[in-house]
Symmetry: C2
Subunit: 604 residues, 2 copies
Amino acid sequence: MRQTFDEATDRSFGPRHVPLIRKAMADQGLDGFVAPHEDEHQNEYLPAANDRLAWATGFTGSAGAAVILKDKAAIFVDGRYTLQVRDQVDQAVFEIRDLVDGGVPAYLEATTTAGQVIGYDPRLHSPDALDRLKTAAAKAGSELKPVTPNPLDAAWGAARPAQPVAPVVPHPLQYAGEDSASKRHRIGATLAQRGAGAAVITAPASIAWLFNVRGGDVIRSPLPLGQAILNADGSARLFLEPGKITPELPAWLGNEVRLETPADLPQALADQRGQTVLIDPGQSSAWYFETLGEAGASILRAEDPCVLPRACKNAVEIAGTKRAHIRDGAALTRFLHWVATEGQASPPDEITAVSKLEGFREDTGALKDLSFDTIAGAASNGAIVHYRPTTRLNKRTEMGSLLLVDSGAQYLDGTTDVTRTIAIGEPSAEMAERFTLVLKGHLALARVRFPTGTTGSALDALARMALWAHGLDYDHGTGHGVGSYLGVHEGPQRISKAPSTVALQPGMIVSNEPGYYKEGAYGIRIETLQVVTEAAEIPGGERPMLGFETLTLAPIDRRLVAKALLSDEERAQFDAYHARVLATVGPLVPGAVRKWLTEVCAPI
Amino acid sequence: MRQTFDEATDRSFGPRHVPLIRKAMADQGLDGFVAPHEDEHQNEYLPAANDRLAWATGFTGSAGAAVILKDKAAIFVDGRYTLQVRDQVDQAVFEIRDLVDGGVPAYLEATTTAGQVIGYDPRLHSPDALDRLKTAAAKAGSELKPVTPNPLDAAWGAARPAQPVAPVVPHPLQYAGEDSASKRHRIGATLAQRGAGAAVITAPASIAWLFNVRGGDVIRSPLPLGQAILNADGSARLFLEPGKITPELPAWLGNEVRLETPADLPQALADQRGQTVLIDPGQSSAWYFETLGEAGASILRAEDPCVLPRACKNAVEIAGTKRAHIRDGAALTRFLHWVATEGQASPPDEITAVSKLEGFREDTGALKDLSFDTIAGAASNGAIVHYRPTTRLNKRTEMGSLLLVDSGAQYLDGTTDVTRTIAIGEPSAEMAERFTLVLKGHLALARVRFPTGTTGSALDALARMALWAHGLDYDHGTGHGVGSYLGVHEGPQRISKAPSTVALQPGMIVSNEPGYYKEGAYGIRIETLQVVTEAAEIPGGERPMLGFETLTLAPIDRRLVAKALLSDEERAQFDAYHARVLATVGPLVPGAVRKWLTEVCAPI
């Protein structure tokens, strides 16, 4: 699981691979091919075998697409990746375009011509995205044609990594808190209420949650790649590669779950003839919709019915994540102590910092994986929101600069995600002022109480107000959902500027991570995870309120706090958090670390 | 324009009028009829001639519907009106149901039976609402049938008031700031860009704004009822009853605008054959969509293209509304002085307070109308958000209670809307605490700076945070748009919990009106209007920010402020506002009032 610092691609990927793709296109009689970042599982992270966009272009960002025509090609990325794409992609091969503004549809409309045939793989596009592509091609008079296998996979050939076959193992009740039969029956009942006989489930995190299993097909998250059909009576068919099935799995799944292989899936969809089937157009590709439609099933487009119940953690999961956060907080505290002592004497480079932190987490004996590659951004690298250190970019921290470390771990009992920004040497007054503005927003979002029905988008401004008052802001969301030994990013809740209709509900875990980034200079982010709880009764209060309980336990660098900018209420909140860190994590760290922790957790 | 305190309906309306409607239904071969609150103009306020729901049921709220079947009937209202509907409607005739939860469609589905024919008037329903009704009836096997004239109008007959024919007059450039030709050409150009040859405009406020005219067909707002077709070349056809056309109007409208009568409208819609026509399903009834569809026009469903430009006031309109607010603030200050002196000696009843305030506004010599019937809620009446004093409900204020006064005026140069809550005698500690929590929210929303692209729903929580922290909240929006000598409620912007995708833009006027209501005891609301502006540059700031400038100028009752609950920043903001009130309004009020104003505007 050790984080590596090599680059998986380089700028030669486009010049070397696009000619191979064009040859395969010619063999199939195609004038072009649309290659999205998404794979067959429409998951955030991809196994190497499915990272088609990276192989074709060199670009390794988490969102994007390419269109390869006979005589030209374009890559499409969003605003987060404008620097990275220029670094990774050879512009002699790929024109760089905006993924959001116009995107692939506008390009197809403007660039393809009447009679041209453009291939697409129906397993890789959501039905809505595909409709937009078809509409655009129709305007240009060109035709979109489904191709299986697609020309990119054909060109990749023997060089393509094998599909992952990590074992699928039981996730015990002591961590899951509710057995699979209970989950299947209660969700099955909601299907019946909505007039659906079954639901097609393709999101890996939903499969893991529904069946109480975990896998390892996708790096940094214990996800099994597969598919399932859940019937309204609570029974289910689960489609997994036979090589993944561990001996104990059939008994764990029980009689109501039939284990089948992905090759059985087309027939299983055909079996839905005459029945109403729920399927989520945000999670499942156009191929499912076409196959169900051809089978004569009646399609109910709706959100994956596992998403909301999965987000609302039960008491066992919450107790587990609290244990995980205490354990992880102790490891992070040892790392922060190391930076504050050895690291101040001889400022480390980013890769050393990442490896050191991973070592402290391994020392817990409970680490299953990192929950994502650690971001350690020294000085100007900290201002690149999606930065990940590599051997080529690795930077040594310097006195008078900041080190931003965003990291997390997967434990059986919970998933963590935490960012701390650390002063190396003496920070400037500007650094401290801006850190404190970020802290004020972080504290406001941690202490807010809000009535039932409030969405994350209604709370987002609380984390930004202090920055806004100074003419500052940050260009990312404030909070994302986090799974229970599952994906470190999960919905449906989030805290962001984007309007949301999803109310925050007890048991949901969200991050609280405002930031500030000064391009070319430094980056600041303070992130903890917090769980939605029913707020303690307030004397004179009239309405039931919700609030947050902070899960993450690790000190925030007091040397970066401009005390004069904090109100009395904010100082008390900051001190109370540190008292809790000391009381909870202190007993778990070595004596020298505990001594240091006592100092950095003292009231400011 | 004097506000009256009689009730337009009583509980006998249902028993007296429903039999007449049932007889007309029988004459038309109908088993039922759906009567919505909305009229042909889909406007918020109705002329008496179109208040069908009130005539049929007795209910005078601003939203609702009724279904009258042969042997039963139901009225549908939302949560705001649950008390009022019980007061006004005879439940022996009408079952009371929830307008939102299930509403009319669920009732039609559950109550009508196969073969029944239920009438509806296509001029009174939005196309989306009508689709829901048709789907529900189809499930029950009943049929929805368009009927013109509808049985309610037939039953109303000679007793129905005449349609209003208030003169339509020019709205001079010194108030409008942009001539009609300029507005028509720039909006026509946007139609052309979107591939539309014309737009059908039916919202009275859009007609008033686009042609720079004002009318008087709807009480409390200078709106002309009519319709228009705006062509992409900037020319237009305007449909007004001939009796409304003033001699100067044709020359004011110019050569590009053809004046026609509403009787010409069906032919004008038929003339759209083969052309793409933009029409707003939120503003125009199903009749327009059906008529355009039958004519062979291609319909582009989109927001009325006048709505956003109308909301962003130009410099002349903003200068006008500032003048109007100073004038109105002086009148309101005279009223507040009267309450603070004579009113404390002998506490007034609500009707006396309303009449006194209207008199001070009339004294300005510029009052065209109230912008809505003044809400004066003494003690427990203040807790009823939609309260309006009547002779029957009129309450005398008492020592130790609160008086909530929400009022506004229409002037040629601007529309005002302001709420002040006044202590009569000595307020309780609880009143002061809760007033101060409302004030903290009000001040937070007044001083916030925010980046371009921020919606009103992102800011709503700022006005509620302080209440939430004490387990309190209020059940209405925080802010609505306000017109320029037009409707006191206008979109598209609003500040509320409901998710919005409309960004606040410079020139938009919004109210800032958090509140707190203790049922059976008292109500608190503090409301000012504020205009979105580009925020002053902030030293060290990096991004262009927007902010608000407060328009309303009248003192906030300092006797209700619990100073200890305010931060230093809030106290300074409160004092700065009062210094501005004194400097601006002070010179316009009589000496005794000015002396009092000086005292109540002193720093706290």
